[in-house]
Symmetry: C2
Subunit: 520 residues, 2 copies
């Protein structure tokens, strides 16, 4: 029997859920494979309708979802309500993208005389890879879990989904699965469109199952490596999309520190402590000038951190890891200027919580210098901790970036007249991240067409995003038809079909009636 | 010192080439990394000009290229001239695609009030992954080697290229490299844009070099696995795109056999023996009805095969492997109805060649039944060999397909009024291949936008193509900018830039002046 734990108290309770057996995984994967074939066959309009039903079903269950997730994650109802909104929005956005249809990349090259001789008719579009395994994350019980972007993009692609529920929010996952299954019933989706498995063994069995054709994951490098090792034992490799680890460096120029140091301190504090610092895009290292303005900024950040209430982490593993890594950072030479070490009296302030039982930690601010930065000092610490690295010259920052693991994001705060500094930093920013943020903060990832939530290893292991419309590409494969009769083609590739953008004989052609712009 | 071998005689000769040392690989990879950064910086117009210079340079060297490749591959001047044309055409096609610009997938989402609150300006496009290692194939000394589609698509992406020359045509590779370097000089491309390494050890050193950011490969599963194992030892994984192994099943319906059995026999013969059967898309197994029409087709195929002259294979490894696998197929129960076993007198016909020395084999036709087909009987045999599997019912074909390894292509010959049969076959065709060919032959891959030369494992290991314009996607990664000042953006993402297709606030917008359709 599986248990659920309230992170505010550390108290566990029994659930009625059991780890999924090998037979259960096998049955779910087989049903999913059949469902994927049927979802592909039913076409785009059906899948758009299903995604809309998913959005509606999530909204219907909002109250119950937030309540159960709050008890399992301690993230609070404000954050969880906004996450439910994001889940519903994602389903809606993908519904619109499916209708718009350009993501299938329909291309038609008619038979022609070419410089290389007579050439056949060739038509191509992207189709679903088949059934997908999705691994829910600990830190987003909705938007990166059962009701998350991976589920949305897989259904958009025409895939079915078997979700490995995260052990940190099992009841939330079970309720979320019921919410999806209600949507499936509402539009009569094929049996097996959505399923979930519970327990780590079930997750490993899932990724080696022959019927599973791709897997996506948001979580730790360590867990991803274990899944990748399992996948490597398959006779047929499958794509494995991992969103893994990210330090998200931020650079504040002297100009920015002077012009708005106070505002940056406050924004940075909010960004590294929001959701108790448990965001993939949390800034983990901040390069701050070693100047009077920089010192004032650090003092403000220190004051905010010292005054902050302790925060509840998601589970004991994350709490323990926070303790181990923050000690390791201090051991490697970082100086704690605000944090948990001398805070025990402050923790008593928190009403209604018992930090001796719950997974509570104090927001922590460490300091080092850019010139002494090492790989050890740039280790990701999941939770409300940031390392401030003081620098004298931009060259010091450039050199220190070589020690910072490549990340989902890199951020620069600069003044408008500091263009030359940005130009000098651009090569390292572009090489080290998937998204470059200017004069704002990396947390708060906009769900939209142009988003890229991905980056060089170790932040992800692929050339794809897991947030935004283009996340659908992960679960698609090209398929071409040569000299096919019209009846053997999918409708998107037939002559005269004109409701989606298509490339015909090399030229992009828009639909005759252009759909409304897709929101975001 | 490395040697080159004439496959028509089996005689080897010394070259002045040496295996590239570890230091040589390191230097090439470092220069390539610097060149990739510069190629990205110079922008699309420069890369289009470079690709055009590459096309011109190939045409200039046509005579020398064909002569040297003919001596090293035995493929003959007709085929090699057409392959040079294809190489030049590919460079030209990618130049046009780079100018057209939609492959960068430029997207702009302006700052907006959204259902999830105020959202920042986010802009995204695809940029080069960096320096790419390309492994030349044995069977296409131009179009899948130094002057091949991987080189074309990498340069289009903004990558530099370090090519591992195939040991079967070292002098062709060296001359090809000189041809590329001449093009580079003509447009003043950065030092290190093109380089080549020689020898297997150098190839392994290349894929583990930190400066190499992706690798592509066309060749055997065995060689690919060795490279993948090396890549798996990297601290930072890189994408490895392999085009590996393909049996390319073909199904002839009773209606087609009856209506045009003779023509199909002749087309199939040309397809499995063209280039001595050494094409990735060679049909390796043909399902033919067990009927009078099917028998007549097989008899025609047998006669053509028996009358065929022996063919020269590319190297001793391929010749030996042809012998081993054709024996294994017979051992597994296939019956040889035309082939090398009783042909020694015929081989003497070939004037000016000494088959006892050269890598010569006889085209071979084996026969089995669909109902007795096993995985052993569906093994790929590179070279002029095909297995005919006779069937009584379409269900037998559907069942037998489960034994056929998934492939780059699957082909159906049917009559126009056999739509229901195609409908029944469609699911197995779509699941088992990347390109479905109707009433023609899988060999002769059109180089165009809509082409897909890829497929499920083991035909490739990725969701990408290695032929056609979309092959460029392999060497690109998304990069997003949030709230960036105009000066920090690439020109494709700036306000008012309007010469490429872009997606703005969700809506696809075509350039104000539409470029000419790109040929193919």
């Amino acid at each position: 029997m599986l248990t659920t734990t309230n992170p505010r108290t550390g108290v566990s309770a029994a659930t009625t859920l059991e780890p999924t057996t090998a037979e259960g995984v096998d049955a779910a994967a087989r049903r999913a494979a059949a469902a994927a074939a049927e979802l592909q066959r039913r076409g785009r309009e059906f899948r758009a309708t299903l995604l809309e039903a998913m959005a509606a079903s999530v909204e219907n269950a909002r109250g119950r979802l937030v309540a159960i997730a709050d008890a399992e994650t301690g993230l609070g109802t404000v954050r969880l309500n906004s996450e439910v909104s994001r889940s519903a929005f994602q389903f809606q956005l993908f519904a619109e993208a499916v209708r718009e249809g350009s993501y299938v990349e329909a291309m038609i090259d008619h038979a022609a005389e070419t410089p290389l001789g007579p050439a056949p008719d060739v038509r191509r579009m992207l189709v679903s890879v088949g059934a997908v395994a999705v691994f829910g994350s600990s830190n987003f019980p909705f938007a990166f879990s059962v009701l998350g972007g991976d589920t949305a993009s897989a259904i958009a692609a025409g895939s079915s989904v078997v979700i490995k529920a995260h052990g940190s929010h099992l009841l939330t996952s079970q309720l979320s699965l019921e919410v999806l299954q209600e949507a499936a019933r509402a539009v009569d989706a094929p049996d097996g469109t959505f399923d979930a498995v519970f327990g780590q063994e079930a997750g490993l069995a899932l990724v080696v199952h022959p019927a599973i054709r791709a897997a996506s994951f948001t979580g730790s490098l360590f867990a991803a490596e274990s899944l990748q090792r399992a996948i490597n034992t398959r006779p047929d490799p499958i794509p494995f999309f991992g969103e893994l680890s990210s330090v998200n460096p931020i650079i504040v120029t002297e100009g920015a520190a002077r012009a708005r140091g106070e505002a940056i301190a406050s924004g940075l504090f909010a960004s590294f402590t929001g959701s108790a610092g448990q965001l993939c895009t949390k800034p983990g290292i901040a390069f701050i000038p070693d100047s009077a303005s920089g010192q004032a900024l650090v003092e403000s950040l220190k004051a905010l951190t010292q005054e902050a209430r302790p925060q509840v982490l998601l589970n004991d593993r994350i709490r323990n890891s926070f303790g181990v890594i923050s000690e390791r950072l201090v051991g490697a030479g970082a100086v704690e200027i605000a944090g948990g070490s001398g805070r025990s009296e402050h923790e008593q302030d928190t009403p209604g919580e018992d930090p001796s039982q719950g997974f509570t930690v104090a927001p922590t601010l460490l300091e080092t210098t850019a010139s002494s930065l090492t790989g050890e000092l740039a280790e990701e610490c999941f939770g409300p901790l940031i390392v401030v690295a003081r620098y004298s010259t931009v060259d010091e920052v450039r050199d220190a970036f070589g020690q910072v693991p490549r990340s989902l994001t890199a951020t620069v705060h600069a003044k408008d007249d500091e263009g030359p500094i940005i130009t000098r930093l651009a090569p390292i920013l572009e090489a080290s991240a998937g998204r470059i943020v200017f004069n704002s903060y990396p947390t708060g990832v906009r769900v939209t067409w142009a988003q890229h939530h991905g980056g060089p290893w170790p932040s992800t292991n692929s050339q794809h995003t897991s947030v935004g419309v283009t996340a659908v590409r992960r679960f698609l494969r090209p398929l071409a038809w040569q000299n096919a009769p019209q009846s053997a083609l999918p409708e998107e590739l037939r002559d005269g079909f004109s409701t989606i953008p298509r490339r015909i004989d090399g030229a992009l052609v828009l639909p005759q009636s252009v759909p409304q712009p897709v929101g975001g």
